[in-house]
């Protein structure tokens, strides 16, 4: 068993254990937590975060952070939403119900590329740039929508249907989409050349250009993917909730996603992170969110819990790393 895998397996096994323990603990007080119905509820809470977390994981592995994903989600959702609202007026015909999917993904990709461009061309820290674009994109969302919400009746019912059911055990399509994205990203990260280059870039950004890694292009790709996935999450937001609101849609998304990614074992210093870990992180957060209403804890405390979770995950991450490094050190004399 190699040391690389040993460390990771420790982390992912740890999260899995935490999930099981948590569910058992909650189930002890509220047995209805351990039903299939509850599982469905948990799973339904997670797809958007799962998709966003896949993108953010790649960004964090590359040693950056993207704070604007919530605003990208909102803006790309709004573009499609407006298209649905006004399609007859704009085009004179009805657009197909699924058109929002490629459009939102495209919008998200463009916004992500804009982030990447600012970061690479001007050599600016991603965290500050995306802090700026967070506001910028949110503001644009307001502008194009004239601050008006896209209501339920404008979202095509087939789109909403993606989140309700499917022929396969009645599990909504949206959950398959989310796991499908996870599998795609897993393949991308572990089995494609550029995926490995992203890990290399995060592991040693100084060495990367010296080894033939095209830093600018890889960075642009990473932010484009993050944007694209946020865009996908945007259209799926419309599917899941049935409306798009200029101020709420996607607001706070980035924190939930970062929490999941950090819990999942991705290191803030880059170079380390697995899809499995991130998926488990998302599931853990899903369980926690689902447990809150059952335990009578108001939904308003979700934010506080996410914050605490990020901090705890950071501490765990640090102590695991230190132990891991210590065990690999040579001992003299």
């Amino acid at each position: 068993m190699t040391t690389l895998r040993t460390i990771f397996l420790r982390r992912e096994a740890g999260i899995a254990v935490m999930i099981v323990l948590f569910c058992l603990a909650v189930g002890a007080f509220k047995p209805q937590f351990l039903t299939l119905d509850q599982l469905r509820i948990i799973l339904l809470l997670t797809p958007l975060i799962m998709i966003g977390a896949m993108g953010q994981m790649l960004v964090i592995v590359a040693r950056h952070v993207d704070l604007s994903i919530g605003s990208i989600l909102g803006l790309s959702a709004m573009v499609s939403g407006m298209l649905y609202r006004w399609d007859a007026t704009w085009f004179g015909f009805d657009v197909p119900w699924w058109i929002g999917i490629p459009i939102s993904v495209a919008v998200g990709t463009l916004l992500g590329l804009a982030n990447g461009a600012l970061i690479t061309v001007f050599r600016l820290p991603a965290i500050i740039v995306t802090l700026g674009t967070l506001s910028l994109y949110r503001g644009l969302t307001f502008i194009i929508s004239s601050a008006k919400q896209i209501d339920r009746q404008w979202i095509p019912s087939e789109l909403k249907g993606l989140s309700q059911t499917s022929p396969i055990f009645g599990i909504p399509w949206i959950i398959f989409i989310a796991f499908g994205v996870a599998i795609l990203v897993w393949y991308f990260a572990m089995h494609t050349r550029v995926g490995r280059q992203i890990y290399a870039l995060g592991s040693n950004p100084v060495a990367a250009p010296l080894r033939g890694i095209k830093v600018t292009q890889v960075t642009l790709l990473v932010f484009a993917i993050s944007g694209a996935l946020s865009g996908l999450a945007g259209i799926l937001y419309a599917s899941r909730w049935g409306f798009v609101n200029p101020s709420n849609t996607g607001s706070g998304f980035e924190f939930q996603v970062i929490a999941a990614v950090v819990i999942g074992g991705a290191s803030i210093n880059g170079g380390v992170g697995t899809v499995l870990g991130t998926v488990l992180g998302v599931l853990l957060l899903g369980c926690v969110s689902a447990a809150l209403p059952l335990l009578g804890i108001p939904g308003t405390s979700q934010a506080a819990i996410y914050g605490a979770v990020i901090l705890i995950a950071l501490v765990i991450d640090r102590s695991v790393r230190q132990q891991g490094i210590a065990s690999l050190k040579r001992v003299r004399a």
Binding site: T2, T3, L4, R5, F188, M190, H191, T192, R193, V194, G195, R196, Q197, Y199, A200, G202, S203, N204, V206, A207, A208, L210, R211, G212, I213, L221, G270, G271, V272, I325, A326, S327, L328, K329, R330, V331, R332, A333
Partner: protein, 508 residues
């Protein structure tokens, strides 16, 4: 002098390199033959490293041409160099610590597209094959993080082989290695040479050059001075060519009066780093601390000074035991420490020279809480005068000064604290000969003033010339305490070399 027959692998003609307004290389002509190990010798700043870096694509020559197998080539960056079959192995190899060894061998090198599949099984197999070829036992699926420097170098060499490099440049590879690792490295180099590859070996160590290399080229002040077979040159010849003047005894030790014990350490231990370190330094004495890189000398200094305190053991100053947990405490007790890597631990690059000099004596420039600029300025001017620091203005950022002058400024900083015990860690590293001599006389003067000096150095001649006693550390232990009269290069080296096999312990 020149070899007949075989066509050179690399022909450099008229290579020159200018950084800003400074010429670091002038008109270098050099042929490198296939199947040779070629040494580049020269002092710091002589240009040997720069020349090698030009070949490796790290720098672009300002003038001159390079021909590979008779064809003129451009080497614009390290990636292009690799494609041409030239690999540079850095002294501290750069790698991707979180990726596995096998991945590190191939990343970035593959020609296929972004989204093409990574052939894991094949990669691992190939990596194992290369490791076996080199006779090195490293688990290729483990992350690079935590590998010893020697192993990291092996991986770099494997990478050179993986890309079928014909020219492998090793830049001062042996400094961090144990003699056994050096021997392993040498046998691999010889094997590669016998395969018809060319190795460039950059080093300061004449014994190693003589043991390993076929031909040697000597650089001085940016010029290529000579190229010859190693057998045709004596050590004295080489040194003369490197320095340009006969070796003279320019280092001298003024006899200082040696007084009572100023610093005494007993049984200092930091598990995994050093253990059971005990020694004394008296007033007026210069005690050297020699050993190989990685022996733990800087760690001992950092422990005494409070940067990373020891886990157990005692430190006493002038007979009184003291507890030092932070550098500010050490300074208050009269200790000073000039660290070995001034860029990392010494200078505030973008702040002014003035600010850099006054940082350790805040109470003097701000007695009432507010900084008195006039006092600070006077302090700075005084330091510049006393140590002959060459600069344009005290207000300029210290990063603009040359290495020697930066080091003088750091020394000035610590002298202002009027230390009773001064620890110097590689104080003349990266400094030209002329400035080195200045430093030596300053150090001698400081001892004469009654200060106790602990001089950590990897330059044996320096230790032998300046010190009253030479301590030697090896692998975290103190292995020798040699008085001046008995100190020779061999004696110090003998004590510096580790005994027995290294145990690699991995926690369960």
């Amino acid at each position: 002098m020149s070899e007949p027959a075989a066509a050179p692998l690399i022909s450099a003609r008229g290579i020159g390199k200018t950084f800003a307004t400074v010429d670091v290389l002038r008109d270098v002509d050099l042929d490198l033959m296939p199947g040779e190990i070629h040494a580049l010798l020269g002092e710091n700043g002589a240009g040997k490293s720069t020349f090698a870096k030009i070949l490796a694509g790290v720098h672009r020559p300002t003038r001159g041409t390079i021909a590979l197998n008779g064809q003129q080539v451009e080497v614009p960056n390290p990636v292009a160099a690799q494609k041409l079959g030239i690999t540079l192995i850095h002294q501290e190899p750069i790698s991707f610590p979180d990726l596995s060894v096998a991945e590190n061998l191939v990343i970035g090198a593959a020609e296929d597209g972004w989204f093409s599949r990574v052939p894991w099984a094949e990669m691992t197999r190939e990596a194992r094959r290369l490791m076996d070829l080199l006779g090195v036992r490293i688990d290729v699926t483990r992350p690079m993080r935590g590998l010893s420097i020697a192993d990291q170098q092996m991986v770099e060499i494997a990478r050179a082989l993986a890309s079928n490099s014909r020219l492998i440049i090793m830049d001062e590879p042996t400094a961090p290695l144990t003699p056994r690792e050096v021997e392993t490295l040498f046998s691999i180099a010889r094997k590669l040479r016998d395969e018809g590859r060319t190795i460039i070996f950059i080093s300061h160590r004449l014994e190693e050059v003589r043991a390993l290399c076929d031909r040697v080229t000597i650089f001085r002040d940016g010029n290529k001075i000579a190229t010859d077979t190693i057998g045709n040159l004596t050590d004295a010849d080489i040194i003369r060519l490197m320095i340009g003047r006969p070796v003279k005894e320019y280092m001298h030790k003024t006899g200082a009066k040696i007084g009572e014990v100023a610093l005494k350490v007993e049984n200092l231990t930091l598990p995994g780093v050093f253990s059971d370190i005990s020694f004394e330094v008296r007033k007026g004495e210069i005690v050297g601390l020699g050993g190989l890189v990685g022996a733990g000398r800087t760690d001992v200094a950092k422990a005494i000074f409070g940067v990373t305190p020891a886990a157990s053991g005692t430190i006493s100053l002038e007979g009184r035991p003291v507890s030092i947990t932070d550098p500010s405490e050490a300074i208050a007790l009269g200790l000073a420490f000039v660290p070995e890597d001034r860029a990392v631990a010494g200078i505030f690059r973008t702040l002014s020279v003035e600010h850099n000099i006054s940082v350790a004596v805040p109470k003097r420039i701000a007695p009432g809480g507010f900084i008195r600029r006039a006092v600070e300025k006077a302090m700075g001017e005084d330091a510049v005068r006393k140590l002959s620091i060459r600069l344009a203005s005290l207000r300029q950022p210290i990063g603009e000064l040359s290495g020697g002058n930066q080091q003088k400024a750091i020394l000035a900083r610590w002298l202002l604290t009027d230390p009773r015990v001064l620890i110097l860690d590689e104080p003349t590293r990266g400094i030209d000969i002329g400035v080195k001599a200045e430093f030596y006389s300053i150090i001698g003067e400081l001892a004469a003033q009654g200060r106790a000096i602990l001089l950590i150095s990897s330059e044996l001649p320096e230790l032998l010339a300046l010190c009253d006693r030479v301590l030697v550390m090896s692998e975290g232990r103190l292995t020798a305490d040699i008085p001046r009269a008995e100190a020779t290069q061999e004696a110090v080296m003998h004590a510096a070399v580790p005994r027995g096999a290294l145990r690699e312990e991995v926690a369960a």
